[in-house]
Amino acid sequence: MRLQKVTSLPPQAERVWQVSIHPTLPLVATASSDKTARVISMQTYNSLSIIEGGHKRSIRSVAWKPGLTGESVLCTGSFDATIGIWRRYEHDLDASNSQGGDEEEEEWRFALVLDGHESEVKSVAWSAGGNFLATCSRDKTVWIWEEIDEDNFETLEVMQEHTQDVKCVTWHPEEVLLASSSYDNTIRLYREGSEDWVCCSLLEGHLATVWTVEFEKPASPGYREEWGSRLVSSSDDLSVKVWTRVSRSGSTAEARKAPPSILRGESIEENWIETSTLPRVHTRAIYKVSWSSKSGRIVSCGGDGRIVVYEEVSAPDTEMVENDERKPPKTEWRVVAEIEGAHSVFEVNCVQWSKRWDKDAKGENDEVIVSCGDDGVVSVWELASS
């Protein structure tokens, strides 16, 4: 297979850090160094609106709140240490009736600013149901916010488990489980304990900054009920790794053997192990990976300007080991497509799978990859059989 460009949007003046796909509507939002976020139609690939004036420095991260109808809510995280919440009514723009109001400029309303972080906010993420918002910063903390009323956010927890800059936060698609990755080379997972949020797992194995983490969706073809969603991570050490949960307290023999926690009423520790390392292709830092819920493929991008697509080679049967304790299978991945110079000579900052919405879409399961780079360009790619 090969990666074929569907289109490139006219470049913005400055670097585009991130693209974020709307959970249900044909929209993509971008975060840029020019202090703006933009919303682009995934049907026509036209720019629909520009969100500006809310941040004093680069917008690094942007996220759509899931679970809404009739309205869109965007969260922006900025190097100015603040988080913005923006709202817009979506009158004519739903998945079934999308031809009408697509082109018209809709007004985004600045709703509120969340402050508290001491330095650059690096990533923002809504939980699957939209109840919780997680943010992280160079100040080494991960914050969890809850929207208790409309536009009234409460800080539930400030966690300083990492010893360095926190680069990325992401939520589990079904459980209330948060993952963060850091400049300290580790990944941490958090759960709500009996009284507060606590770190329930530490994933070590990367040898340099872990730029990004993302969970597998249950709809993905490689998803296995018995192991649940896996986690993919990418790093400055040029590797992409997949992690699988081996045990959760109370749920397996291994956890029952562990000494009970004295400090907490119940132990909520989890044990995750590395079950795959993807083939090494990138020659510079891997800034982003995205795991498709339609095809189960993983796409990565990085400082070397490459976009690489990987596919899981069918896994061997789950091994049975002593004491009837099962271990998740280690699986192999292969490269199915790669392109060099995806954004000409520039670094590629983000890639994200999206449902294909344009006129050439072949059914519900057709998908494209949206990428952005230091050239200020947002590009759309399809996987073509060669």
Binding site: S58, A208, G303, E347
Partner: protein, 207 residues
């Protein structure tokens, strides 16, 4: 001041390696000649295909030269409009605490600059290793950032920069290296006015 070296070794400016007045050897690369004008004249050209097919054979010698170590280190006389922005280079950057340049203080040395400019590759690499005047120099990160900023401004975007502290020359070299080569941290530093004020002063002597 803690990190200050009161008696740094100073090199005589006339002993520093330079290529001014020296005849340059020109190497022609149709690939790079296609890349540079395509980007410089029209930032809207984003596709790789367009750029690579755009290898017109014009005799504009300003775009025919690959970049080498001497050019990174030293000043180059080049009247070309296209490339004049890269003629100030890192040896002439001022030290933030001494009235001397990084070249005079031997913080930057020609033999510690490595350029991999393969005309057939899409991206090229520049590695600069810095030698701090003392091994606990508190300004190593700022100096590294100044070198990085200078090169980012001066070099075409196909270059990937690695600015590192030479192994064994600084107490916290690995920490400094990690910071200097973290894209987010560098991007954020460039938005910090105080820090950029210091860097701006260091770069004043480059012009």
């Amino acid at each position: 001041m803690d990190g200050k070296n009161a008696n740094p070794t100073i090199l005589n400016a006339s002993d520093l390696p330079t290529r001014r007045q020296v005849q340059r050897k020109r190497v022609t690369s149709p690939l790079t000649s296609g890349l540079v004008p395509a980007y410089a004249q029209d930032p809207f050209v984003g596709s790789r295909d367009t750029e690579f097919s755009n290898s017109d054979e014009s005799e504009d010698d300003s775009v025919l030269e690959p970049i080498d170590e001497q050019e990174i280190y030293d000043q180059k006389e080049n009247k070309s409009v296209l490339l004049s922005h890269r003629s100030d280079l890192i040896a002439t950057i001022s030290d933030p605490e001494h009235p001397l340049t990084l070249g005079e203080l031997a913080v930057v040395n020609l033999q510690h600059i490595k350029v991999t400019d393969d005309p057939s590759a899409i991206i090229s690499n520049v590695l600069v290793e810095l030698t701090p005047t003392i091994n606990h120099c508190s300004l190593a990160t700022v100096i590294g950032l100044g070198v990085r900023v200078r090169l980012e401004q001066a070099l075409p975007p196909r270059f990937r920069l690695d600015v590192r502290i030479r192994e064994g020359t600084h107490a916290t070299g690995e920490q400094v290296n990690k910071q200097l080569n973290d894209k987010e941290r560098v991007a954020s530093a460039l938005e910090n006015e105080t820090l950029m004020g210091v860097v701006g002063k260091m770069l004043e002597t480059c012009r």
